[in-house]
Symmetry: C2
Subunit: 343 residues, 2 copies
């Protein structure tokens, strides 16, 4: 019961070629004939064979999404959920299929290139969460496969889509300064990630434009996790800053937990700004002021850029930086009723 172009042609009284033209929406087919062929296709439920099509066209209609090994602990991070949803939605609507590559080990990772890429299985690749000096990235950029990185990579020459982490840092610093805070601390993200680095640099620059500098004693770095934020704030709290920029919402939640245990009220005793704009940030107590990044849109844009690269509409390194937005909530609103701190 496997239908081919030839079968459809026979049923419609035309040739293989004409059916092909109809399917691919090509011109030079008489309207009556086109309608008839379409009717037969509809009636028989015919769908062209993907392998045959891909063999001759050189296109598979599949894009890959790579999430490297080390991310597994973080995989429950809502960030990835939203990112995957954005990417999935965009590839669905652009007629692509999405192949997911989660790697448990470095071997699986080095396996990717020959088994998948060289086999011509993919039209393009989106890579997330690259480390600094990621070897996968190097092997990928050497090939002629279109690749888009989500997040700024530490090497040039490759296309990427990122949010404006630097500007987010600036915005956080300026916001805290404008609220009157002068002893402003940083609960940093790992500087082994470009996101962590950019947020740090932006924050420092933001302070600088306000005529301030970041006191090294007021900076403790975490690892993006809730417990990392908790532990970092344990140390930071001793210095008693009157405001802190936590470079991720999740770390901010950990920080809030630590502050609660210390009996330090937010925002009365200390103002907190997070980064991410996670849904949970508006439900925390107090609701978290944060730098919202458009995660799903980042995924969407990555797919669009990749499609441009594949179709040849764009070439070589395309860079796209999406804006972030300051969302002010209770955690930096000192006029708010005292909801924070001990409950």
């Amino acid at each position: 019961m496997k239908l081919t172009l030839e079968d459809i042609g026979r049923l419609a009284g035309v040739s293989r070629s004409t059916v092909s033209r109809v399917i691919n929406n090509q011109p030079n087919v008489h309207d009556d004939v086109r309608a008839n062929v379409l009717e037969v296709i509809e009636r028989t439920g015919y769908a062209p064979n993907a392998a045959a099509r891909s063999l001759v066209s050189g296109r598979s209609g599949v894009i890959g999404l790579v999430i490297p090994s080390r991310v597994h602990a973080i995989f429950e991070d809502p960030y990835f959920s939203r990112l995957i949803q954005g990417i999935s939605a965009a590839s669905n609507s652009s007629g692509n299929m999405l192949s997911l590559f989660l790697f448990q080990s470095a071997e699986e990772e080095t396996d990717l290139y020959p088994r998948v890429v060289k086999a011509g299985f993919l039209d393009g690749l989106i890579v997330t969460a690259t480390r600094m000096g990621d070897p996968l990235l190097a092997s990928l950029t050497g090939s002629d496969l279109p690749v888009v990185i989500v997040g700024r990579p530490d090497t040039g020459g490759v296309s990427y889509v990122d949010v404006d982490n630097h500007d987010g840092g600036v915005k956080a610093a300026v916001h805290l300064y404008e609220l009157g805070h002068r002893k402003i601390g940083l609960l940093g993200a790992p500087v082994s990630t470009t996101a962590g680095l950019d947020r740090l640099n932006g924050f420092v620059q933001g302070l600088a434009t306000c005529g301030m500098a970041l006191d090294p004693k007021l900076r403790v770095d975490g690892d993006f996790s809730e417990s990392g934020g908790y532990e970092a704030m344990q140390k930071l709290a001793k210095q008693r800053p009157d405001a802190v920029f936590a470079a991720s919402d999740t770390m901010a939640f950990g920080a809030l937990r630590a502050l609660q245990e210390h009996g330090i009220s937010v925002p009365q005793d200390m103002a907190i700004v997070g980064f991410d704009g996670m849904p949970a940030s508006e439900k925390s107590i107090p609701a978290l002021t944060t730098i919202r990044q458009p995660v799903a849109e980042t995924g969407t844009r990555a797919v669009q850029v990749l499609n441009d690269l594949i179709s040849g509409a764009a070439s070589a390194p395309v860079v796209e930086i999406l804006p972030v937005e300051l969302v002010v909530r209770q955690s930096t609103d000192s006029t708010a009723p005292a909801l924070g701190g001990r409950r």
Copy 2:
């Protein structure tokens, strides 16, 4: 710079066919020749073209994972993260590629069948989180594509892998009974899901074996979410049960929050058993007694069953039920120091 079998053959001084035999590990190739061919392949970095291979063999080496539209709100549920990881790991190690289908709308869903399945793009399909009476499921079982459902579907004749939700309900009931509780309530999962139904039925049966019945007034259903658990417990708390089985950890967390607000201590005033065994369940305060289900293993088994179905090693409806396990922690340990309740 695209290499073909013929190229490799020329370089190795043999024919296309011999190279093919070497690549596919077939017999009847002289050892010297085999070694030589292998050397050429290694040196040139040749990888056989996936499309051509799939065209003639009828196999794509790709399995699909479908997550229907309605799940999006729940997608951040750690359950799906762990499931996806299990499925991904198993398909990686079985030499398959994984294609992810997240649907935002019903249209995308109905689109799946023609565009992907009939195109022969997939060797098999894993479907999660089916609803009762899911139309997708019906259209899929009608085809000859191997399909495995994760979670018990409401129709027969289809292969599935599930955890023993029923036994989990029994274990929860018996555990609470054995601790001496006699006014035992249920914070149920939606009975529009087979998981919710099975947990309910198991719970009722577990009580029955202890000579008890579930008082309808002591049963309130939630929707798997934290806030659903919170609201359900608001109602349930008025009846003052001395023990409650929450049919998911997430709901149990919501319930704990509600109880905390009411000043009801866990486990002193009320014992709580959850269901899932999420990582967060050991970090909650108090640590949650729960029915642990092997989520990643469920995914792994689904892939294995699917591969058996694809290879023909198994046929038609294969059913696999994985055991669950009671994990006792503070939330049902009345001898524990009073950590629960108001902090």
